[in-house]
């Protein structure tokens, strides 16, 4: 409940939490003492990913969308790292090994590149249209 308490708290009250999350008993009494498992990371990853998507879907500011993208990428990274670390699994379960970390590394690198280009485009858009309001950039509509 603590874990989910955290996630529930984070979600703005306005967003109704789906009841299906009744999986609290699974985590034993005191999360403080029990070792962290893979599922926790997945949940954090999911939350980040969802926040990212929501941000992209919500923000009218181009930069807001870029931030959404960053969040999404980080959500993915968390999952990668989680799957690659041997400590979050039971003993001996096969993990991604270094692959996960390398992929996460590349994601970070390419995210940097992507951000650079995206910002360049946004700046251009801003210079040309004097606004970064994405809704105004609907020239390519049907």
């Amino acid at each position: 409940m603590m874990v989910f308490g955290v996630t529930c708290a984070c979600l703005p009250s306005a967003i109704p939490l789906p009841p299906c999350l009744g999986i609290v008993p699974l985590f034993g009494a005191n999360p403080f003492t029990d070792p962290i498992g893979l599922i926790h990371y997945l949940i954090v990853g999911a939350v980040l990913f969802t926040a990212g998507v929501a941000c992209m879907a919500l923000k009218r500011n181009a930069l807001g969308i870029l931030m959404g993208i960053e969040l999404v990428l980080n959500g993915a990274n968390i999952n990668f790292v989680a799957f690659s670390s041997p400590y979050l699994r039971a003993e001996g379960t096969p993990t991604l090994g270094l692959d996960g970390q390398v992929v996460a590394l590349f994601v970070i690198l390419l995210a940097a590149a992507e951000a650079a280009v995206a910002l360049a485009i946004t700046l251009n858009f801003y210079n040309n249209h004097a606004t970064v309001d994405v809704d105004r950039a609907d020239d390519l509509k049907g």
């Binding site: 041997p86 003993e91 001996g92 993990t95 090994g97």
Partner: protein, 405 residues
């Protein structure tokens, strides 16, 4: 520290947390004390360079309490906030900036194993955290809702970010020489005579040291590169609107990072805690033996490091009051057209040097730099066979092999 407390019968996690607190406080004092001393030193050196006396009346003979006076003044001053400023960001900026520089001290080894946390990616961590300082600057500039501060912030951010590239390259050279990013290891490698310092390892490292110094000065916004606070144009740059305690935090952050950068230079190139003369070794102490001897050696190491760091800071102050300020385009040019290319060239040079002259110019003169490698290189089966089979991943992989002393 923790073992000691555990020994006292405290539950493990409490022991760990107390030990962590102690270490944090110690480091905080280092920064605060340093700041005080350096403020005073700055005033004195500036005066001396400008052929005047500097503070003399406050606190004793040489006005050494001047910084205390400043501190009290700052504390007494009202923390103003400009009318259009973004409250949250305005208040947060100084702390972000201070935390960034303070956070870097975690991985800084003052002496062999006298380090906040011995990180395997120490060097990398320090450089990374230095990068975070920019946020503080930007937020401050932005939050103070004034055009000039925004400009100042922008310039400083641009400068710091762009100088991070050459800085990173310079830092990589000692890492390559040492074969690891762990600062403690790098320091260890330069034990022995002064000639063992990486500075004198080969001409390339010598040149790269000076490039490092330049980049360091620039990334800390000091002296010739202090466009952010260029009085004539942008008043006080990003922290124009700040006053009182918030301003002092910025100030402490600045001096802290100056000290950090100099200390890093010391560790990477000037042998860290190893003095020019291996006094401890000569006297037969070895850092691994008894506690008191270990402490004595460690104290000597700490003294060495702090001395070198202070020398670095004083060097910066010296430069500040001698060299004229560069224009923003000149700053950028030096970064992109001079520092980066030279760093790259030297990096290549060092690499080739390592390849062709592993033993150094005069074989045996200095301890060969490259002999310490991680275990897996020389292990059975050549390059790839060293690692224990992945069958039992749980078994701890002792990757760092202790080099024979």
């Amino acid at each position: 520290m923790a073992d000691f407390l555990i020994g006292l019968g405290l539950p493990g996690w409490i022991a760990w947390s107390i030990a962590a607190l102690v270490a944090a406080v110690l480091l905080l004092n280092v920064i605060a004390g340093g700041a005080l001393v350096f403020i005073w030193a700055e005033r004195k050196i500036a005066a001396r360079i400008q052929d005047r006396l500097g503070p003399t009346r406050t606190g004793g003979r040489f006005g050494w309490l001047q910084s205390l006076a400043d501190g009290i003044k700052l504390l007494a001053k009202e923390d103003l906030m400009p009318e259009g400023a973004d409250g949250l960001l305005f208040r947060l900026a100084p702390y972000v900036s201070f935390c960034a520089s303070f956070c870097a001290f975690i991985a800084l080894p003052f002496a062999f194993d006298v380090v906040g946390q011995r990180l395997n990616v120490g060097v990398f961590f320090v450089v990374a955290v230095l990068g975070l300082e920019v946020f503080g600057v930007i937020l401050a500039g932005y939050a103070s809702a004034s055009k000039w501060s925004l400009f100042g912030a922008m310039r400083e951010a641009a400068q710091v970010v762009s100088y991070e590239v050459p800085l990173g390259m310079c830092v990589v050279v000692p890492v390559m020489l040492a074969g690891t990013m762990d600062l403690v290891t790098i320091g260890e490698k330069q034990a022995g005579w002064m000639s063992n310092w990486y500075l004198f390892h080969d001409p390339f490292t010598f040149v790269i040291f000076w490039v490092y110094v330049t980049c360091a000065v620039a990334s800390v916004n000091r002296a010739p590169f202090d466009l952010a606070e260029a009085e004539s144009e942008l008043v006080a740059g990003f922290h124009t609107e700040y006053s009182g305690l918030r301003w002092s935090f910025f100030f402490m952050a600045e001096y802290g990072s100056m000290f950090l950068v100099s200390a890093l230079a010391a560790v990477l190139f000037l042998g860290g805690w190893n003095g020019p003369v291996p006094v401890a070794r000569l006297l037969g102490f070895s850092d691994g033996t008894g506690d008191t001897a270990a402490y004595a050696v460690r104290l000597l190491g700490i003294a060495n490091l702090i001395g070198k760091a202070t020398f670095g800071v004083l060097l910066m102050m010296w430069i500040r009051w001698t060299l004229p300020r560069l224009r923003i385009d000149q700053v950028m040019t030096t970064c992109l057209k001079y520092c980066t290319p030279i760093a790259a060239a030297m990096f290549a040079g060092v690499m080739l040097w390592q390849l062709f002259l592993p033993g150094g110019l005069v074989p045996g003169w200095g301890r060969p730099a490259g002999e310490i490698r991680e275990g897996w290189l020389e292990g059975p089966g050549g390059l790839s066979g060293g690692i224990r089979s992945a069958a039992d991943p749980a078994a701890p992989v002792d990757l760092v092999k202790r080099s024979p002393r």
